[in-house]
């Protein structure tokens, strides 16, 4: 049952990405192109997700534990550091350039567009490089 729930969650996530248009990089880039062929659809994706997740998370967290585990694994950090800001800024540049973020890129892998087949391995390498270089940076921004 716990395996099925995880598989179902992945399938639901991928189907949502396809239905919403997030798995189409042209649509993502058009959302980001305010001064060109702007397509506001993606605001509805995030809106739809948060409208469901916000009350859902609140309800779930009224439970003492998740169904199949002893504890909730929730992020506990509340500080702002250089890695958060520089990382997010870097991610945004890549997202704009390719129109893909990690979920849609992986969901698109079986469709085997040549661009996707380049993007996904590069993304995995980028992730590993970030893990190898995870030594903490100074708290102040280095320019």
């Amino acid at each position: 049952m716990h395996i099925f729930s995880t598989l179902f969650a992945g399938l639901l996530f991928g189907t949502g990405l396809i239905l919403s248009g997030m798995a189409n990089p042209a649509k993502v880039q058009n959302f980001l192109d305010l001064f060109g062929t702007w397509d506001p659809s993606l605001a509805f994706v995030m809106g739809g997700a948060i409208m469901v997740t916000m009350p859902g998370f609140w309800l779930v967290q009224k439970r003492a534990t998740p169904l199949f585990h002893d504890v909730f694994h929730l992020p506990t950090r509340t500080d702002f550091d250089t890695r958060l800001v520089v990382g997010a800024a870097t991610f945004g540049i890549g997202w704009g350039l390719g129109g893909f973020c990690p979920g849609p890129a992986l969901t698109s892998l079986p469709l085997a567009a040549s661009g996707t087949l380049l993007f996904v391995p590069a993304m995995l390498v980028g992730m590993m490089i970030a893990k190898y270089t995870a030594a903490p940076l100074p708290k102040t921004l280095v320019t």
Binding site: F13, T15, L32, G36, G48, C101, S114, G126
Partner: protein
């Protein structure tokens, strides 16, 4: 290329993504952040305890498009650039940035904001800002 404005499909698709995040939290107490799920099963420091669940979630994610084709009889509409070097650089930046910043569109943008995390809100505003600027430069400065 212009794309059609699809408020209803996008809202419904977003709701499915939200539902998936609820299933993962309710069943396993985990946040549905794709960059986190993927990076935790990559070297170095593979999270061995979370490895099976991570792989099963990714199998589900990878099954979505084939199942979509099977049910609807058509491939999802998609236009991916065939500019190889651009996509290689984009992939590197997305992978590196999402792990360095501890999250991407799903972990920060959906789950984090739903948890009213100030860190996630800051990250989301940051990556939205650089993405808007990047597409502006790409389409109206370089490619204009």
């Amino acid at each position: 290329m212009e794309t059609d404005f699809t408020p209803f499909a996008s809202l419904l698709g977003g709701a499915l993504i939200g539902l998936s995040a609820i299933v993962l939290l309710a069943a396993h107490g985990r946040i549905a952040g794709i960059s986190g799920i993927v990076s935790r099963i990559l070297p170095p420091s593979v999270d061995k305890a979370g490895l099976p669940q991570g792989i099963i979630f990714l199998i589900g994610l990878l099954l979505a498009a084939p199942l979509w084709v099977l049910v609807t009889g058509a491939a999802p509409v998609q236009l991916v650039s065939n500019n190889g070097p651009l996509l290689l650089i984009a992939g590197l930046l997305v992978g590196f940035g999402s792990v360095m910043g501890n999250g991407c569109t799903s972990g920060h943008g959906v789950c984090g904001i739903s948890r009213r995390s100030a860190r996630s809100l800051a990250a989301t505003m940051t990556f939205m800002a650089t993405a808007f600027v990047t597409v502006f430069v790409l389409r109206h400065v370089v490619g204009g």
